[in-house]
Amino acid sequence: MSNSYHWPVLPGKDTKKVVINVDGVDAEVPEGTNLVEALKTIGIETPHFCYHQDLPVAGNCRQCMVETDGPRGMGLAIACYTPVRPGMKVATDRSSEKVVQARKAVMEFQLANHPLDCPICDKAGECSLQDNYMSAGRQPSRMREDIGKQYKGAPDLRHEDSKGQERGGKHVDLGDTVVLDQERCILCDRCVRFMRDVAGSEQLYIASRGDHAFISTFPGEKLAHDYDLCVTDVCPVGALTGKHFRFQQRVWMLGKTETIDPTDSFGANITVEHHDGHAWRIMPRRNPDVNKSWIANSSRLAYKALSENRLASGMFGRAEVPLHQAVSRLGELVRGARKVALVASGHLTLEDNVAVAALAHALGTKAEVFGGSWLPVGQPDGIARTGDPVPNRKGLRLLGIPSNLDDLPGRAGEFDVLVVVGNDLWGADASKAKALERIPERIALTPWLDATAKAATLAVGVRSWAEARGTMVNAAGRIQVLQAAPILPSPDLEPVWQVLSAAGGLGWTSELDAFRFAQARVPALAGLTYRTIGPMGRPLEGVSA
């Protein structure tokens, strides 16, 4: 803790490469980056705890030891704080017994006072202590059982366990979201740095000193920040855990689906983690060009909605009908309509919205497409939210769908059928939506039994953002792919584009058909495939931020 901040220098696309000697072999690595990153570029992983790509370097865990050449010959140095110099010599654990010994020693120290309660720890399976023990420790314990462990935790939480061992600092309630287990903590201070240097609100600190130091909030205060669950990500051990995920699942059971945060136009990269057909958590997925390693609590908790209040069938007014009936009724209504208002949605993918446009095209002049949202737009927070709750607003603009939703209530009398696609108009602004109830047939395609579904004469359940593949364009003009997680609440649910394709007789069999249709209309999408967009997305040519 001090006024000196050492943000890590990470390799960029344009970083100059220089030759250094690693374990006796010359290798090209990016100049000026720290050795952890430089060695990673040539396939050498360096075990570490406190180092994090998106936090200032603290250099306190001492696990990433390598040997480098200095004025006094080869000597131990921490890789995370040693920059690459041209021609430098580096010895890793592959060639230096001294490095092996130093890393083993640090691992032994880390474990000396750790409770080793992996069987009941939520972090087990994704824990740096476990991983680094396998790569850098792997030694029998030398610790005498009767010497025991140093008590770590706040003095007022101290108690004796059944073996007479001093324990404490267990399940300390830090606030609404995070629980702290002080005795598991290895004091890497990542959480402190996250709150101070990323969240910009110093709410955590290390109290006391020596081996009895512990993480704490300031006396009488709680951990409360829109991003405070990120401390559970940066925590390399099981000390900080989120209340939403404690004791829910063993992490090695979880399948991971790489997708995009649907709650904000920042387009934070996330992973939906699921098991047994349920989404159990959302984790940030590092993308240095978008959200770095951070997502807001609201993005992280968005998985809960995936299993709450779902519309897994069709609704005629209040009556539940099988989905296939609802879909064919939808087709009849739009084909038989005098004039149809189709409301596209920035909450849905390009594929879904292009299906709206294609349906309007198929219906000819009797159809009109409206776009936009009535949700209030907030302010950017400078971390991973723009404040705009409509994730694909830019994608709608790209497709040429007008932002004219506000015209619709005044013109409601012109239409006899309204199709609202994934846009909770009644939930966003019930007073504006009230005028739409003049339209006799109101059809809602929605994953949720929301206010719009209830106000509709016909509601059709569809797949949510997490269950269908597609693309979105974030506020910065970056196209990114959402992948489908195997978590359908009902096997009958279909993506929006598929329902609309059936209703309009478009004959699309995959989201690729929809994407190709969009490519034909939008030059910026030309030449792209899901594969070339890749898991990190790519900025669209000619689309400004």
């Binding site: 006024n3 000396a112 030398r142 290390i206």
Partner: protein, 434 residues
């Protein structure tokens, strides 16, 4: 009587400005100082051979020359008066007896480095010394020796006294700077070194009290005279705090290179050891201990002690006789370092504590074979792997006390009837899983 360069005013009431002036004080604050350019002054200090008296013994002139001149930021001088090394008490007495000499030394250093604001970071427990300093500062300000336009020279310097909150680690210069800034006292990663980016990310010179207090004498008598007091490589005099089993413990200033036994036995100095000398800690608790035989060969200068694989350190000489048990002494030291480890980096945080708990177990009569080896291994593993040298300050006593008084430690372990019992259960078979 040997020449004194730092403690000559002891016992003369020099706390008071008029007394200090009547003893020749502040004579350098005038043309003698201000006629020198910064470079001339730094050269003068370099040629005097003055080295940092806080422990590391880094050449003072060289340290000053590292401070950049055109960084566009203010240069700070911070006086390290956080004297916390067990056995050391010289700075406390220096500030108590002769605070004006420190102020004078700070003005000299300030002029050399272009300092506008200087701080004295005093260990919080030194309340009388702090009061003496504050009183002296007030007198100096009133006499126009501090503040704007010192003695009509056009040079201005402000000095503030900052009380530490009580941590050994705050004697480490970057931890001290952190503490001064209001952060937790934990050492910073280096580089950048304080000379380039220290207090408030500005160039900062951190010097020990005694180092700065030697400056007025050097200015008055010339660098050659100071250099001539010591050995060719260790110039000048050094203030030693002698404690332990000697007849007259206290603060003594002697030329560097004086034999250790002369310090302990001279009738002018400590007047002899009580009982039979068993060993001496020559430079503060972290310096490797010397046995009586080694102590008889030791000269008190940087090079001679380095050749005995120990160090001059802060000049805290602790002599002990045959009634003192090595185990108990080491137990005190490991307890101290475990308590004072700042907890920032892993090897020191966990290693100092674990070594201490092993030794406590041994002292409690529950030692087992292999415990001492484990302690020595911990000492190896915490050395040179941490941000600051506190871990080494713990490792050296462990290695040297156990190494040089091994039979006592073995006897302590053997007091446990079950000492041959295995230290850890044999359940764990490495490789059994994979």
């Amino acid at each position: 009587m040997a020449t004194l360069t730092v403690t000559q005013n002891f016992g003369k009431g020099a706390k008071d400005l008029s007394v200090y002036k009547s003893l020749g004080g502040y004579s350098s604050i005038g043309s003698r100082l201000f006629d020198l350019s910064q470079f001339e002054l730094i050269d003068l200090v370099t040629s005097s051979g003055l080295r940092g008296r806080g422990g590391a013994g880094f050449p003072t002139g060289m340290k000053w020359s590292f401070v950049p001149r055109n960084s566009g930021k203010p240069v700070y001088l911070v006086v390290n008066a956080d004297e916390g090394e067990p056995g050391t008490f010289k700075d406390h007495f220096l500030m108590l007896e002769d605070p004006h000499r420190l102020i004078e030394g700070m003005i000299v250093c300030g002029w050399a480095l272009g300092v506008r604001t200087a701080y004295i970071y005093v260990r919080g427990e030194f309340l009388p010394a702090i009061e003496a300093l504050n009183a002296a500062l007030k007198q100096a300000y009133d006499a126009g020796l501090l503040g704007e336009n010192i003695a009509g020279s056009g040079y201005s310097l402000d000095i503030y006294v900052h009380r530490g909150a009580g941590a050994y680690i705050c004697g480490e210069e970057t931890a001290l700077i952190n503490s001064l800034e209001g952060f937790k006292g934990q050492p910073r990663l280096k580089p950048p070194f304080p000379a380039v980016s220290g207090a408030w990310a500005s160039p900062t010179c951190v010097n020990n009290v005694e180092t700065l207090m030697a400056l007025p004498w050097i200015l008055e008598n010339g660098p050659a005279a100071y250099q001539a007091l010591g050995t060719p490589k260790s110039g000048g005099t050094k203030v030693f705090s002698v404690s332990g089993d000697v007849k007259r413990p206290g603060v003594y200033e002697i030329p560097l290179g004086t034999p250790l036994m002369e310090l302990l036995e001279s009738p002018d100095l400590c007047q002899g050891v009580i009982g039979t000398l068993k060993g001496v800690i020559p430079g503060g608790s972290s310096s490797p201990v010397l046995t009586a035989e080694e102590a008889k060969k030791a000269n008190m200068d940087y090079e001679a002690l380095a050749s005995l694989k120990t160090m001059l350190g802060s000049g805290a000489v602790v002599a002990f006789n045959e009634t003192r048990g090595a185990v108990g002494m080491l137990a005190s030291l490991t307890r101290f370092y475990a308590h004072e480890s700042c907890g920032q980096c892993t090897p020191c945080r966990e290693g100092t504590g674990y070594a201490d708990r092993i030794l406590k177990t041994v002292v409690a009569g529950k030692g087992r074979d292999g415990d001492l080896e484990h302690m020595l291994d911990i000492a190896d593993n915490i050395s040179y792997t941490t941000i600051c040298p506190l871990a080494i300050a713990d490792a050296w006593p462990i290695q040297n006390f156990i190494g040089k008084f091994r039979s006592e430690f073995d006897a302590e372990v053997a007091k446990n009837p079950g000492h041959a019992q295995a230290r850890v259960s044999s359940d764990f078979r490495p490789g059994a899983f994979w």
